[in-house]
């Protein structure tokens, strides 16, 4: 049986993605900081008839992440990593921001995915099969209210995705940024930066789960390194992957001021 690792799986999108991957036939290793929340996720997976193993870990702790990887590899061939753990932080004006809180957002949203990918990619590359899904956000590529550590970290994560895809090209491993859009969870409902977003701009969990399942199905492999949104028409996006790759689109780039711009 193949194994999927899902971070931030104690609640919200991570929990539902873990349940979906288990229903689709994978053993899921679920990680989060809270053992109690993970236990609930495991119970939900088992109630669906699936198999889940909880490993309590902070994704910014390199030793703990190595431990997650060791446990997962012992269970079987890890072929899916969903780097879902993330936080938004506050929309605080820069002069008022707390340095430690700001940097903590960068650690969770950037260092976390980098560490888990670092721990699991060697096995995937050696076996010639794997999907790394970095749960990302358009907030990484536009102005956000306040001085956003989230916007900095998610933008950097897009660059990491692009890099990892270059390095894994031809190995059978695929790396994608997948934006779930805005989904009602405890995190987003409590986040100041999402307050006031109209209801029609939120995405349903079913759409998110279908998008995530598609991302690890092999049907989006030609888009490796790119940013996709679960509300994209993903199959038609994959059909135009050659053009997208050739023009290096759907990735973070300097926006040129016009066709004559020497940069970008």
């Amino acid at each position: 049986m193949t194994v999927a690792v899902v971070t931030g799986a104690g609640r919200g999108i991570g929990r539902e993605v873990a349940r979906r991957l288990a229903r689709d036939g994978r053993t899921v290793v679920v990680t989060a900081r809270s053992a109690d929340q993970l236990a609930q996720t495991v119970a939900l997976v088992e109630a669906d008839g699936g198999t889940a193993v909880a490993v309590t870990a902070d994704v910014t702790d390199a030793d703990a992440v190595r431990g997650v990887a060791e446990i997962a590899e012992a269970l079987g061939d890890v072929d899916v990593l969903v780097n879902n753990a993330g936080v938004t932080g506050d929309a605080t004006p820069f002069l008022a921001c707390d340095i430690d809180a700001w940097w903590r957002v960068v650690e969770i949203d950037l260092r976390g995915p980098a560490l888990v990918a670092h721990a699991l990619l060697p096995g995937m590359v050696a076996r010639g099969r794997g999907w790394v899904v970095n749960v990302n956000s358009l907030g990484g590529a536009k102005e956000l209210p306040g001085t956003s550590a989230y916007g900095v970290a998610k933008g950097a994560l897009m660059r990491l995705t692009r890099f990892l895809a270059t390095e894994t090209a031809g190995t059978g491993v695929v790396v994608l940024d997948v934006s779930p859009g805005l989904v009602h969870t405890a995190m987003t409902d409590g986040a100041a930066i999402f307050a006031g977003v109209p209801e029609e701009d939120w995405t349903s969990m079913d759409v998110v789960l279908d998008g995530m399942a598609l991302a690890v199905s092999g049907r989006l492999d030609a888009l490796s390194g790119r940013f996709v949104h679960v509300e994209d028409d993903l199959e038609s996006l994959a059909a135009r992957a050659d053009d997208i790759v050739a023009a290096d689109t759907r990735t973070l780039r300097l926006r040129p001021y016009g066709p004559d711009d020497p940069i970008g």
Partner: protein
């Protein structure tokens, strides 16, 4: 002989060598009093000596840019000895020691690069901006890199590239918060200038097309004078851009939100853009 009282106070990180050293000397020669920040005292003292021999004014403020207390102490020392900085050049940068696929780079080393290239400028901005905003003037320059913006041959130097993308995003988000305060932030790339850091990045030095360091020092001098304020929050390439041409269309650049890191659409009708 420069008049050391004619400009203001500048702070340059990574001032002990490479581009930081050249930028510091250029600013001192223009009459700026310069705070030289770097990790090692020895190289800073050497630059200090060069500034003094040229008739300029500087102080060495040793600090590790990733450590909050040291950054604060360095800015405090500079402010006491020369005055609070009017101009800050976040230049200190680090790359991973050797090129390798990202998952073979030591994970702690990978993060140390991000700390130097992102946390450093973040901490420094946080330290100097309140006084600048209170005065209603000040300029902050981030030394970025095209490596933060586009794929590289072989795809290597992942930590450096990811950190420079993050720096671009920091420039962007800082700029948004500084609109209307009189304080300007800009990001630039010096191009490929031959330094200890870059010398072996892309293979044998004699096979590289090096950009002269005078291009970045010239851009820094213009930024210091306020010439580039209309490009607040944007990226300007010191070697590849015609700065006057950019300035001529600064209004259009800002209106189009150009020269910032954005998702590149696959077509004009890409629904995400």
């Amino acid at each position: 002989m420069p008049d050391p009282t004619s400009r203001g106070v500048a702070l340059v990180t990574g001032a002990g060598r490479g581009i930081g050293r050249d930028v510091s000397l250029a600013l001192a020669a223009e009459g700026w009093s310069v705070g030289l920040l770097g990790r090692s005292r020895g190289p800073l003292d050497a630059v200090l000596g060069e500034v003094a021999r040229g008739g300029g004014r500087a102080v060495a403020v040793p600090a590790d840019v990733t450590l909050r207390d040291q950054v604060r102490a360095a800015v405090d020392t500079l402010s006491r000895d020369l005055g609070p900085p009017d101009l800050v050049i976040s230049n200190a940068g680090l790359r991973e020691q050797a090129t390798s696929v990202p998952w073979e780079v030591d994970a702690d080393e990978w993060w140390r690069v991000v700390e130097t290239n992102l946390r450093g400028p973040f901490l420094l901005a946080h330290e100097v901006l309140p006084a600048m905003v209170a005065r209603g003037s000040g300029r902050l320059l981030h030394i970025g890199s095209g490596m933060g913006q586009r794929p590289q041959p072989g795809g290597r130097w992942s930590a450096y590239s990811v950190s420079k993308a993050a720096l671009g995003r920091l420039t962007d988000t800082l700029a948004a918060g500084l609109d209307g305060t009189g304080v300007t932030v800009l990001e630039t790339s010096p191009g490929l200038v031959r330094t200890d850091m870059t010398e072996t990045m892309w293979g044998p030095p004699d096979e590289q097309s090096w950009n002269p360091v005078e291009q970045i020092t010239a851009l820094v001098r213009r930024f210091a004078r306020g010439d580039l304020d209309a490009l607040h929050g944007r990226f300007v390439h010191a070697a590849r851009d015609d700065v006057d041409a950019l300035l001529a269309q600064a209004g259009a650049i800002v209106a189009a939100d150009a020269r910032t890191l954005r998702l590149r659409p696959y077509a004009p009708d890409d629904p995400l853009v």
